[in-house]
């Protein structure tokens, strides 16, 4: 089977940036590989009395800029290479928003759909026991990811604190608010995307008031993008879609009503005064802002020429293929690349860690203000590189982040 190895892709992306930056061989080589990997085998007692063995991982890709940061995935299709690749991407993401953290990722090969809550709790605690020695607020701070939840973070935190014998909420983020979770995490991904969109419009001299937006994917990020795009930027939502197809009305929808409808019915279909539109058609609408917030690889060489938005803000991971990226760049579609546009989530995770350490919690307004500052600065960092190197925004973001990580390695005297 000609399998696409995600880690090979991640290495190739680094290679391109390293070449452009002219990194020395040692630094380049260092950044091509994870700094530390832990593979553990977890026996877990299941409800029916049997013991099941799970394989699990934690990868700390690079900690030159600070403790590793990255989610824990519970997925039946998990492999070490997926985790390595995701840990590398976390390294670039924390660097691009310039938070003092490195990159990491963890995972358990399991199917949470086959497990009861009690079994999940036992697995969560077993995993934490196995990897606890490598964690800590100044070593590595995990967070929720695919199929892991605030509840699972709470169990892991509790297990860790039991082991070390004192409170240590900052060992993990994405916890429920009563256990030290941060305000503002729910909409942080979309909010970060909206902030960078605002800045992009400024440099393009675009007034976004009453301009149009379309959102592909109406899960958590998509819904908040609809609400915040309207609230913060004054954008008019004219189309939205989910896996069952989309809705369209050139006059615009009230985003609040669309979100309510989706929450109530589980679907967008049948929303009043809307025409049906396919996911493919939605991407090609003549809108000012397009938010791809659903799947990977939706903008490809096949349709990139027909993408007509001014700004494409990638809330989803990997919505644009490399071939399409180049076409969009040539066509002057301004792309806010995923690991910049959706970095709001990790930024608020970082805020959670900070608040845990201080044991002092910020009001929502303060979280929003600090997130705005971080995202705005990150945008200009990337944009400056974009102008200077005359590359597309994704390449610029890579250049910024790889340079920052390389610099930290150099300063530490590692290379």
């Amino acid at each position: 089977m000609a399998e696409l190895n995600p880690f090979k892709i991640a290495q190739a992306q680094l290679d391109a940036a390293a070449d452009r930056l002219g990194l020395d061989i040692a630094t380049h080589d260092l950044l091509r590989w994870p700094q530390q990997e832990l593979r553990v085998t977890l026996p877990v007692h299941m409800d029916d009395g049997k013991v099941q063995i799970f394989h699990a991982y934690r990868v700390q890709y690079n900690t030159a800029r600070g403790p590793a940061k990255g989610g824990i995935r519970w997925h039946p299709e998990e492999t070490i290479d997926t985790i390595r690749a995701l840990a590398a991407w976390m390294t670039w993401k924390t660097a691009v928003v310039d938070i003092p953290l490195g990159g990491g990722k963890g995972g358990v090969t399991c199917n949470p759909k086959w497990m009861s809550e009690a079994e999940k709790q036992r697995l969560a605690r077993a995993y934490m026991r196995a990897i606890a020695s490598t964690l800590g607020v100044s070593k590595d701070v995990p967070a929720p990811d695919v199929y892991t939840t605030p509840q699972i973070m709470a169990w892991m935190m509790d297990e860790y604190e039991t082991m070390v014998g004192h409170h240590h909420p900052g060992v993990i983020t994405g916890k429920p608010i009563p256990l030290g979770g941060s305000e503002g995490r729910g909409d942080s991904t979309a909010r970060g995307g909206v902030y960078v969109t605002r800045e992009a419009a400024k440099i393009m001299n675009l007034d976004l008031r009453n301009k149009t937006m379309a959102i592909q994917g109406f899960g958590n990020a998509g819904q908040y993008a609809a609400l915040l795009g309207n609230e913060i930027l004054g954008l008019k939502l004219i189309a939205a879609s989910d896996s069952q197809g989309g809705i369209y009305n050139a006059k615009g929808f009230d985003p609040k009503q669309v979100v309510d409808y989706k929450l109530k019915t589980g679907s967008l279909q049948g929303f009043p005064e809307s025409d049906r539109i396919s996911n493919e058609e939605l991407l090609e609408l003549d809108v000012t802002i397009l938010f791809p917030a659903a799947l990977e690889n939706v903008i490809t060489a096949a349709n990139a020429d027909r993408i007509r938005c001014k700004i494409c803000c990638e809330l989803a991971n990997g919505p644009t293929t490399p071939e399409a990226d180049e076409i969009l760049y040539q066509n002057k579609v301004f792309v806010l690349p995923d690991f910049l546009a959706n970095a709001g989530g990790v930024t608020v995770s970082y805020f959670e860690q900070v608040q845990n350490t201080y044991n002092f919690y910020w009001p929502l307004q303060e979280v929003h203000e600090r997130l705005d500052q971080k995202m705005t600065r990150a945008f200009y960092g990337v944009h400056e590189m974009y102008l200077k190197e005359k590359v597309n925004m994704r390449q610029a973001a890579y250049l910024v982040s790889v340079a920052r990580v390389a610099e930290a390695c150099k300063l530490r005297g590692w290379v």
């Binding site: 089977m1 000609a2 399998e3 696409l4 409800d47 029916d48 039946p76 299709e77 199917n111 949470p112 759909k113 086959w114 497990m115 009861s116 809550e117 009690a118 199929y147 939840t149 605030p150 509840q151 994405g174 429920p176 979770g181 995490r185 729910g186 899960g219 958590n220 896996s243 069952q244 197809g245 309510d260 929450l263 109530k264 019915t265 589980g266 679907s267 279909q269 493919e280 799947l295 990977e296 690889n297 490809t300 060489a301 096949a302 293929t321 071939e323």
Partner: protein, 879 residues
């Protein structure tokens, strides 16, 4: 001789009656069958001599009226197959024999022994007689005198052309014409002595009085010696019950009588009979009869419900669950199946029903007209009076009028959704409530003529079976809340879990589909709304995680709106505006940050738009699942086969659960037939593949298209091409040609996976038109890809009634015909002309076009975990 008259074979009789005419139906009311022979045999002789066509309907146990001989036709019929069957057969035979035929029927009283009630006898006559009249035939019937209810004889008299009483007085035979239509003489309606060549009328008052007094015991009262078991069996059992020794089931005669009463009320199915004999007491049967409106049977649904209730109350189980404390009593009424036929007969609808078959392709508009004709029909005053009494009993409590047909819910057949159930919120004054109720009954009756139901009957080979429509009237369980009325919980549960989405789930422990509010949302499938599926072996598992929990949950609830007096569907947030409905914390979770939090106290916090119906606390904090599990296993054991039930449930302030059992029947999974047996006698050439792993069951016939994605070629595609392939699947799925036809989709690995290397990248919307989805796990380079068991859209497959099968072609027992799938001509470019670069990997096979007209059929037997996909006929050369 007048060409319209037909000789009776007895000249004296012809003189008395002024001749029998074509079109006459002649009923002889006799004391013994010999008296009928006396008149029928000469009539037959004369007809044969005159070379008239003569048909003898033989159905009774008495010695034959006529022996077989040239010049006549004997047709044997079995009345034990039921009124409906018998009447339909007679009707069809008469129709096929055409006009001016001479008919002799056996003694009609024999029918009552089989059909239990005089009502059906009168119905038979009232349907058959006018048709014979139209066809200008002459038909002889006999009726045993003094053994039928007065009203039944009266209906026969009103319908027939000639009714003659025959009796013996003072050692001599007499005839007494009671009715001779359109003929008259001053002495015609006097008794006549049957003697000599001229039968003299008894015109002298003294003679007449002597004869008549000795012949009639009580001319104005109902029968003294009822033949109809309906009445006689009941009377005898009453007698035993009220005797000093009381009813004794050990006495064979008394037990036999009880059995007979049970058969009359419930029917003749052996399993129902066994259960009824074991579990029903005489008191139970009397209680049914006391709540029966009209006469006849109560139907499968009512019988199943009552039996299940009784089984649970009788059987003790080791877990110390006392069902007596956990089951709600119920106080249902039953409208007997005879009422249905009488309604049809009295309102001239029976013939219409005979004309409608599956092939008559009734359109929606035509069916609406049929409904209008039913709505215009009237019930007899007696029945209306009983309806009134029942409604007075219920007061203004909401009720549901449910079809309870004899075929429905019986073993191996389910008309789920074919026949109607109608809610009556039952608000308003008594007259309005009666009108609403009767309207509901008529609409349920009309649904027996629904094209879907007729088609289903025909397809299942039930077209000629006796179909008597009884009605079950149940109190709607629940309580008023604001101006709504609904049960706290409702759903359906199956004693076998045929929708196990992973290997851990024990299919022998069953599954529950649970909703808040009326159970209609659990029984029916409503698009993007999903009941909570609870696997009894692993109640905490669900096929979704995180935000998907919200998507795959119940979003709306069905209820009765007492203000508008109708059934309605609302969002929970609209209904529970003040959040003070009891026990909400057991049903709701609160979505925060894409995760459902279960309330930790009795209060549900969060905004209504964050509520999601998970029933997590119900599962965790109460013994609901344990209770349902025990209920199902107890019923399965008693039935001797898997069952499914419909129920409502409530939880009191101490978190104690009570169940109201609404229905129990042999297991039928929505969308599948449990009695699907995988054909064993298939020609090897017919088989396309077999599957042995976990599957959900069903039978899909007439599959025209196969969409096949070649696993080997798929894995060689670039990721971009793989991505595009998923979109092409969607385009074929939505192609106008695919509407109204069936397509089987098959391809490698985990369909719906976000990782395109693991399987075809589709969403549910790309496959929702498929009848069958097949995941092919073909070993490639030593690696067998996993299949998903449909988990990427498991609930969608369940709700969409799509059969899911994983297939392992490398396993020899799979008999996977790779060559068929890989080399049969590809119709892809006819559908999507610009996709030639995908034609080697994506194949669309128009099966009948390439197989001399064969279609594909899939039979999947979940019990035995066997499925086969095959061509429905042997094809010598496939393409």
């Amino acid at each position: 001789m007048d060409p319209s008259t037909v000789p009776s074979g007895i000249q004296a009789l012809d003189e008395v009656l002024h001749g029998i005419r074509l079109g006459d139906n002649v009923v002889w009311q006799v004391d013994g069958i010999e008296d009928y022979y006396y008149f029928a045999r000469p009539f037959a002789e004369t007809a044969i001599a005159a070379r008239r066509r003569l048909v003898y309907f033989r159905f009774a146990s008495h010695p034959p009226v006529l022996e077989s001989r040239p010049g006549m036709e004997i047709i044997e019929l079995d009345p034990s197959l039921g009124f409906d069957y018998f009447t339909r057969e007679v009707h069809l035979l008469i129709e096929s024999r055409g006009p001016e035929v001479m008919y002799i029927f056996d003694n009609l009283s024999a029918l009552v022994v089989e059909w239990a009630t005089d009502e059906l006898l009168a119905n038979f006559f009232q349907i058959t007689c006018p048709y014979l009249f139209e066809l200008n035939t002459v038909a002889y019937f006999a009726l045993t005198r003094g053994q039928h209810a007065h009203y039944a004889v009266a209906r026969i008299r009103d319908t027939t052309q000639i009714l003659v009483d025959v009796y013996h007085a003072k050692g001599q035979m007499h005839i007494h014409p009671i009715k001779v239509w359109d003929r008259y003489s001053p002495q015609m309606f006097l008794p006549h002595l049957v003697a000599g060549e001229n039968w003299l009328p008894l015109s002298h008052s003294r003679e007449a009085a002597e004869v008549l007094v000795s012949a009639h015991q009580s001319p104005l009262l109902d029968t003294m010696r009822p033949l109809a078991p309906w009445e006689s069996v009941y009377q005898k059992l009453l007698h035993y019950r009220d005797s000093t020794s009381g009813f004794d089931e050990k006495d064979p005669e008394q037990f036999a009588l009880k059995q007979e009463l049970a058969r009359m009320l419930i029917g003749h199915h052996p399993v129902f009979n066994r259960l009824a004999d074991r579990y029903f007491t005489l008191g139970d049967l009397f209680a049914i009869r006391n709540r029966l409106i009209g006469a006849g049977r109560i139907g499968g649904k009512a019988a199943g419900m009552l039996l299940a209730q009784r089984i649970l109350l009788t059987e003790k189980n080791e877990t110390e669950i006392d069902f007596a404390e956990r089951l709600d009593d119920h106080d249902s009424f039953y409208v007997g199946s005879d009422v249905f036929f009488t309604f049809l007969v009295n309102n001239d609808l029976f013939r219409l029903r005979l004309q409608l078959t599956c092939d008559s392709s009734t359109s929606h508009e035509e069916f609406q007209e049929i409904e209008q004709r039913f709505l215009a029909g009237r019930f007899t005053p007696t029945i209306q009076e009983q309806f009134r009494a029942m409604l007075d009993y219920y007061g203004q409590a909401p009720i549901i009028v449910r079809s309870s047909s004899l075929l429905e819910d019986s073993f191996g057949n389910s008309f789920a959704g074919k026949y109607r159930s109608i809610f009556c919120p039952n608000q308003g004054n008594p007259e309005a409530r009666l009108a609403d109720f009767m309207r509901a009954v008529k609409l349920v009756y009309a649904s027996a003529l629904n094209p879907d139901a007729l088609c289903y009957r025909s397809k299942r080979g039930l077209g000629t079976n006796d179909e008597q429509m009884a009605i079950l009237v149940q109190r709607v369980s629940g309580m008023p809340y604001r101006h709504f009325f609904f049960p706290m919980l409702a759903g359906v549960a199956f004693s076998r879990n045929l929708y196990a989405w992973n290997d851990r789930i024990d299919i022998r422990q069953g599954v529950i589909r649970l909703v808040l509010g009326l159970g209609t949302r659990a029984v029916d499938r409503v698009g993007s709304d999903y009941p909570r599926m609870i696997a009894i072996s692993h109640p905490h598992l669900r096929p979704e995680v995180g935000a998907k929990v919200s998507k795959y949950s119940q979003h709306q609830m069905d209820l009765l709106d007492l203000e508008t007096n109708r059934f309605d569907t609302r969002f929970p947030a609209e209904v529970f505006v003040d959040g003070n409905y009891p026990n909400l914390y057991l049903f709701l979770s609160v979505m925060r940050d894409n995760y459902p939090y279960d309330p930790i106290s009795g209060k549900v916090d969060g905004r209504p738009d964050q509520w999601v119906l998970t029933f997590n606390n119900l599962i965790r904090r109460t013994d609901f699942v344990l209770l349902m599990g025990k209920l199902l296993s107890t019923l399965e054991e008693a039935y001797g086969q898997p069952v499914d039930v419909e129920f409502t449930a409530s939880v009191d302030a101490t978190e104690r659960v009570r169940i109201n059992l609404l229905q129990c029947r042999p297991l039928f999974m929505p969308g599948s037939l449990v009695d699907v047996s995988v054909p064993t006698s298939l020609d090897r050439q017919q088989v396309l593949f077999r599957a042995h792993r976990m599957i959900c069951g069903g039978l899909v016939e007439q599959i025209r298209y196969i969409l096949y994605i070649s696993p080997q070629r798929y894995y060689r595609l670039t990721s971009e091409a793989k991505k595009s392939l998923g979109r092409l699947v969607g385009q074929i799925n939505r192609h106008p040609t695919m509407k109204g036809t069936k397509i089987l989709m098959m391809g490698p690995g985990r369909w719906g996976s976000g990782n395109i290397d693991l399987g075809v990248n589709v969403t549910y919307a790309d496959i929702d038109n498929a009848a069958v989805l097949v995941e092919v796990a073909l070993e490639e380079a030593g690696h067998v890809p996993e299949v998903s068991y449909g988990t990427h859209f498991f609930q969608d497959l369940v709700e969409g009634q799509i059969i899911y099968l994983p297939v392992y072609p490398d396993d020899p027992s799979t008999e996977f015909q790779r060559e068929f799938f890989e080399t049969t001509p590809n119709a892809l470019l006819e559908f999507l002309p610009h996709t030639s670069e995908y034609a080697s990997v994506l194949r669309l096979i128009d099966v009948p076009k390439t197989t001399e007209g064969a279609f594909v059929q899939v039979a999947a037997d979940p019990q035995r975990r066997q499925a086969v996909c095959f061509l429905d006929k042997v094809v010598r050369k496939r393409h």
